[in-house]
Symmetry: C3
Subunit: 404 residues, 3 copies
């Protein structure tokens, strides 16, 4: 008999269940997540302007793979597994560089920026070697919001549906985010966080504001409604953005004015409001009137995740900051504190995931309903059943049960 | 066919077998030990006077769990899994503290010291949440010898039988240990040892004195009979304590007088004698006329164990030492050296446990007979068979065989 | 249906397949290699003159075991598992030493250098303990080329066939290597490398010179034919040594003269030539006219290998170097650079072994044919099938497939 806990509140309450603790600690579940989620879905990996000219490349981690992203002569930005077709050595052995071809440093097999094998010692005496088949193994690439998105799947999900769909779910349309002109913004600051927690704890944290009053004093000062624990994306069926407080002059650590103007094409309704969007599996987009904050997550193990956070401003704002005519610190500091507060909470939650007291999972209050939808998606994407009999099955995590 | 090696000496000798080496190295056997031994039996975790007043709490590790031990207003010392009933975060995030309630730092779910949920954001709008069911998950607590003992099992073994029973087995009655008044002693010194060895090697080491002549020069100077390798607890059916040497004036590193008097109510036969008791699975009690030494073991992995050793004296002795009117160093130094000597031997034994040459286990000489009883208990508690066919079975370690 | 890829070139080319990537990353395959290769075959472990007199001993690692190698009074060099027959403690707890007996430091069980148990506390009261059966567990020892070779197998392979056979395969006879008088050379320099790569990548690297032009500028300067990527051991059926370049005066980092004379009994054809021999599973021998370079590999994990490299010279040359009358640096530096260049390539290859893009393995060009023979030997020794259906089998790595 299958009991779907999604449709049943927990005993002794109307609270809703979470997955069992081992969903956050089991290396084999993490391996499934790498294979079925991060290595099959679209990942946002780097800012396109980090590859300014032909031949510039960077290596990035996607799932358990290392990928070369390179600006080619003929085909825009392309991406390849960083594995030589001959004996497998890393073709690019640095984090970034610029070159006319991609040459493996072991036996000098040499690839065009567009991927084909173009030279190798004694290659002329091996005329039957197919230059394309023995080229670098290609992965799919798209650009959006000024970022390069990469998908390792042989048959990638439709980008428009999978990625833009998340924005449409949030806003009903795609124009609302287009207003921010994110593709032409520039990165004013990037911070990288090494978080000792499972990636799902981080995404769940982003999906609720029930914790805001407890751990985010600066954020709730700027956006008072967060103190009520509400992070709803819809109110009475309408798209909901969170209003700045009455005396707040900017999205800064102390609510003072940022010192620079709003993004030129935002709609009137986007003024003095904060919007948050999650693009599963690894991107958070936060928009405020004068800048945009984008997080990219890179899961490292079942208990460790790298999070890279970009603060994006108008190019002229970044230029002035570089010339010391403007200070971005107050703007950056607000979400940097929020990040540290959130990630500390995640790190203090991770160790309990292996406790007997959390074996059946925890409880979600009503304002954490976005998390429940995320869990439903997670169960479905991994092909796991949520049922009371799951303890008998090695494949499925046991059904949630009350925590206490 | 089942051959019980307990009843058969090893070939080529009358020596007795030990478990096979992998009993000390296999992570899955260690996981069973955590589940079946440390998470089901009574563990001695901290000195009760470390929680002097209402609201004082400490976090301790038991098996693979972290537990809060707290002095409550209404119910004496209580203990809980350190896991919030809501989303699981560690409720207490330090090693110790004092507070009026136990509040989770993530979403401010707040628990009475007695465990019930008493407050949470928006809790009034969730009236159906059962305050007891969504309280902290309780674990069993007892106090004895001035220590807090905790048991994670839902149905704990009878404390009197399981714990006091070990003392009765040693002395025939419980009064002999009561004479030392351990519950009213004070801790004069605590040392913590991080030992790179399986916990069973440490307990086995404590159970025999065949090694004393080789590695404990100071101890055998004070108790000369240990040089003969005898650590028998009974002689001719009588309870046996080990006599101090003739010229020995105290249980100190050089045999000189300790500088302070005997414990007031010890019996005449306990004068100038050392007694040792093992309270399985993790406590060693050593009594001498003027102080008591208690070890608590906390297994960390199959090859690592934390040992905490307390030296307990009369409160007035500790007070004088704190006022620099008395020096406890000579008393503490004796067993500290014994500890270091023992743990070094265990650490040099651990690596061989994975050797092909120890695959069938080692050999026990007659004076190591207490170890043999420990092994029998270990096999039984884990539900393992000791038989010659065990190599065919994944569940049971292979039967012991000659080492050479 | 079984398809042996050894007999089939890769699609889209006449290139030959390698084993799949997980052969280099799977801990269970590595455990098989330890059990079936390193713990069953002859290992070259130390220079015999490192044990100059009776009682000198060293401990060495073979496979997953620690072994004592000792010069005995009656039986030359002998070797034992470093495991006491009583309770298993390491008998020798240092890397080297000298003693009249081998005594365990735990309970003083004492063994003759020849292995038998000769003393223990209370041993006289245990007259039935068989001194031989409770002696140290012996392992097989041979000496050749001035090295001690050890085999852990109870029934070791025939030394002449297994070890000398590799030399006969290379040279057709054994005399060619005898000419170098390696057993009477002395070690002028030893360097130890901790390489973050699977041992097979290191052996494969040694077996081809297709990489020489790319990574070994100094070596190809001294031996110009290596720049063509040829490292063939036979040419037109004849034994082939690699010739020094015309203007090269010695096998030194800059091709200048070494400053000391040739080994006295080398044959005319061995003059101005370099020969390389692999003695599977862990020895590389390189001979040049005036010295010999010998590598010993000790696999530590599936992704880590210790390599020890000795530079051997005539005793009088080493004596002069010690007296500062001669400088060996130029000779040593050449292969030290080659080592670092090779090991860096191996370390940059190891991470790709777990990539999806290398799941089917890589490709071998014709001049890498020695590697293909090594792979055939590896499959056979581990009892693995090479077939297209292997993906269905947990035991066998999947059949190689094109990399791109």
């Amino acid at each position: 008999m299958i009991i779907d806990h999604l449709d049943e509140p927990l005993p002794g309450s109307s609270l809703r269940p979470t997955p069992p603790g081992h969903a956050y600690t089991d290396p084999s579940i993490f391996a499934s997540e790498q294979a079925e989620i991060f290595e099959k879905m679209w990942n946002c990996v780097l800012r396109a302007d980090a590859l300014p000219s032909v031949g510039h490349w960077k290596t990035v981690r996607i799932g358990r793979e290392e990928v070369i992203v390179v600006r080619t002569r003929k085909a825009g930005v392309q991406a390849y597994f960083n594995v030589c077709a001959h004996r497998g050595m890393r073709v690019c052995t640095a984090a970034k560089g610029r070159s006319r071809t991609l040459q493996c440093g072991y036996h000098a097999w040499t690839y065009a920026l567009e991927g084909d094998l173009v030279a190798a010692p004694n290659l002329t005496s091996m005329p039957d070697v197919d230059r394309q088949q023995y080229g670098l193994r290609r992965v799919q690439v798209r650009e959006w919001l000024g970022y390069v998105w990469v998908c390792l799947a042989e048959e990638p999900p439709d980008f428009d549906e999978a990625v833009l769909g998340e924005v449409r779910t949030r806003f009903g349309e795609i124009e609302s985010i287009d207003n921010y002109g994110i593709e032409s913004l520039r990165c004013g600051k990037t911070k990288t966080y090494d978080v000792a927690a499972n990636w799902k704890l981080i995404i769940e944290n982003f999906m609720e504001c029930y914790h805001c009053a407890t751990i985010h004093p600066e954020l709730t000062e700027v956006i008072p409604e967060f103190a009520d624990g509400l992070a709803s994306q819809r109110k009475n069926g309408e798209v909901h953005g969170s209003n700045f407080g009455q005396d707040v002059h900017g999205f800064t650590v102390d609510g003072s004015a940022s010192g620079f103007g709003e993004l030129p094409s935002i709609a009137p309704g986007q003024d003095r409001r904060y919007y948050a969007i999650t693009v599963k599996p690894q991107v958070f987009i936060n928009t405020v009137p004068d800048h945009v904050i984008i997080h990219r997550m890179f899961p490292v193990s079942e208990s460790r995740t790298t999070v890279v956070c970009d603060w994006l401003f108008l190019p002229e704002v970044v230029a002035k900051a570089e010339a010391d005519e403007l200070d971005l610190t107050k703007s950056v500091e607000l979400f940097h504190r929020v990040n540290r507060q959130d990630f500390e909470a995640c790190e203090l939650t991770q160790p309990s995931m292996s406790s007997k007291a959390y074996a059946g999972g925890g409880a979600l209050v009503p304002s954490e309903h976005h998390i429940e939808e995320f869990h439903a998606w997670w169960y479905q994407t991994l092909g796991l059943r949520r049922d009371a009999d799951a303890e008998d099955s090695a494949a499925a995590p046991p059904a949630p049960a009350p925590a206490a």
